[in-house]
Amino acid sequence: MTCPHRILTLFAVVALSVVPGLPPSAHAQKPLKMGAIVPVSGPAAAFGLGVQRGMEFAAEDIGVFTVAGEKYKLEVVTYDTVYDPGKTVAAMNRAVYNDGVKYGVIIGAGVHPPILPIIRETGFLDLAFAAAGRQITNGENPTVFRIMASSDQLYQTHLQPIIERLNVKRVATLGPNDELGKNDAKVVRVQVEAMKAKGVQLVAEEYYERGAKDFGPALLRLIAHKPDFIETDGSPTGSIALIAKQARELGFTGYFLNSTAVLEAKAISDIAGKAGDNIIALRIWAKPPTQLYAQLADRHQKKYGEAAPGTMWEAYAATKWVADVIQKTGTFDTKKVADALAQSTYPDHPFGPASWGGEKTYGAKRQIILPIPAAILKDGKWEPFDVRTGKFD
């Protein structure tokens, strides 16, 4: 095969391979595609798995619905971002421009900056699962909603009450050295400074490589400052369990706080054993807050044989909420749906009645407001850790 033919075959293969996906099979109702643009491999895979399964459960429960006289069924399409900004752009290009996806859940403050321009240009309705990142929910991004409690919200409402209740005086922070970790540390610093009068001070701040397994070096320096409270920002399950275990090994006896994690009591106690006690986790329910919450948990256990990752419930709720609003407004136009969504409330969210807020902090009503639980780990089980929570608007 001489050289020129080789070039032509190359060109033909490229053209062929980008042919858009197969046309949707023409069964009774047309599919409404919703994207799960989440990490399904790599260190943050557990976050993505919960969202994917939560959305699929929601699609099953919603079943067939009508919009402007047409019958539709929700179809969840997963695009693996591997928590890498470059791959997230590729996923968005595929979803938005090829598969015609207009709605989706996207995980990770760190991967948002390169796709926000695409979201603004195409009006993609992004249900963001991103605790940090003030630049996500604001006036410039009308179609971006944060469907989980943000770091600002968590810490503004919970940090000071928890510190007071435990009578903590020396706070230290240890988080992943990425967008999430650095942002949470900033928010914590502000809250702790506000309690200077009560003698509370921030004594140490350390970071670790996301996905690292050995926290000895970071913990050594931290524990040297004799903290009685270690805030571990957005450390995932594997990390917080190892941090607890290794910190106890180094003689730390105080409390841990974790804000945005996907924590299962069993997973932590398997890894850390008794060392896992006294971990306080925000966004984790010790007792199911609603009937729906418990049903979803059992359904996941039956179907997958393992405990549900913590992101499942919020993804389930957001998907159903958006589907309801689309049905009510009778249009797929994301601008209209976004405006309607912002005004609407969602009483049967698995966490409890939910609405939108955040104008004061973010300048746009795009931050979900819902009951924020706190729980403390005792002998491998979560126990409620109710504190009088501060206000967030």
Binding site: M1, T2, C3, P4, H5, R6, I7, L8, L10, F11, V13, V14, S17, V18, P20, P39, V40, S41, G42, T78, Y79, D80, V82, Y83, D84, P85, G86, K87, V89, A90, A91, N93, R94, Y97, N98, G110, P113, P114, L116, P117, E121, Q135, N177, D178, E179, G181, K182, N183
Partner: protein
């Protein structure tokens, strides 16, 4: 005949895009970028040097251009060149040191360099730390900012045509030909004895390779409109090596074929990262074991097998490359 086919292909690449969907333009952009990265790496792989750290030089290019554009408001076109030059400069500095090493020593030293580059970008706020640098602007073209896929496609196409043209012709020059003389420690001795300053040629080859990585890295950063230490990772470097090996190191067309086919294929496997790495790995192993010359050797498979059987008989179990 060959030039006619090339001109035909170029015409298609220039004329067809306005009709294409934005997604196809996205894939074309990614394919063109990976083709330039693969061919840039090929310059030193053709010389027998395997690098697991080229993503580091791509990152240097991307960050240089992004910083110049966001912090100094410099014209993006100059940023592209600055990205290439910065990577080339770093390659020159480090090349003098690492190129004394051969074989796996060299591969691992370049890999270490890439890890340090990422660590530095993550550690210091000047580089935006772990959050990276957002709001990296697209270039302006007669007053219009090229924010559309089509607009930016032509920027990438232009850069790719220039880069690939240069790299293709480079192999035909005496400089390119001389690089073939430096494949192993022994041939390097022979090269020195016929008057080839091996160290200078190797460093120049490394600088050229890293220049084009930096140049396209800069363009890549402006395409994403964002640079972060989590984009150009170790796996990015291994992908480029896989493109080269799968395509075949025998000629310029090898890495081109490898990168075009695997990138286009990779774009289809969006559902899960591990499907893509599984397919890449299986293609790589099949090619290395069954097609000694890579995909472009397909037409001359029997010869390639015969050559390997002959070579295999004399080969030691312990590879001699220290």
């Amino acid at each position: 005949m060959k030039t006619a086919a090339l001109v035909l292909l170029l015409l298609a690449l220039v004329a067809l895009p306005p009709l294409a969907e934005p997604y196809m333009l996205h894939v074309a952009i990614v394919v063109l970028m990976n083709a330039v990265y693969a061919e840039a790496l090929y310059v030193i792989m053709r010389m027998g040097y395997l690098s697991f750290g080229h993503a580091g030089y791509i990152a240097v290019g991307a960050y240089t251009s992004a910083l110049l554009a966001t912090k100094l408001g410099m014209s993006v076109w100059l940023g592209f060149l600055a990205g290439g030059t910065a990577a080339a400069l770093l390659a020159w500095l480090l090349g003098m040191v690492t190129l004394k090493l051969r074989g796996i020593y060299f591969s691992l030293s370049v890999f270490a360099f890439a890890e340090v580059v990422n660590a530095v970008f993550r550690a210091f706020d000047f580089f935006g730390g772990p959050a990276g640098i957002a709001g990296v602007p697209r270039p302006m073209f007669f007053g219009v900012r090229l924010n559309t896929h089509l607009g930016f496609y032509y920027v990438v196409l232009g850069a790719a045509v220039i880069s690939l043209g240069f790299l293709y012709r480079l192999a035909a020059t005496r400089f390119g030909f001389t690089l073939l003389a430096l494949r192993t420690r022994d041939t390097e001795g022979l090269a020195e004895s016929v008057g080839i300053d091996a160290a200078r040629y190797k460093t120049l080859a490394f600088v050229v390779s890293c220049f084009f990585c930096g140049l396209m890295g800069a363009i890549h950063g402006h395409y994403l409109r964002f640079v972060s230490p989590f984009v150009f990772t170790f796996f990015f470097s291994t992908d480029l090596v896989i493109f080269n090996m799968a395509g075949g190191l025998g000629s310029f067309w090898g890495p081109l074929a490898g990168s075009v086919l695997l990138t286009a294929l990779g774009e289809q496997l969006f559902a899960a990262g591990y499907y893509k790495s599984l397919v890449y790995a299986v293609v790589l192993l099949v090619v290395i074991l069954a097609l000694p010359g890579g995909l472009i050797q397909l037409p001359r498979l029997r010869e390639a097998w015969a050559a390997r059987r002959l070579r295999w008989a004399k080969q030691p179990v312990a590879t001699t490359e220290r």
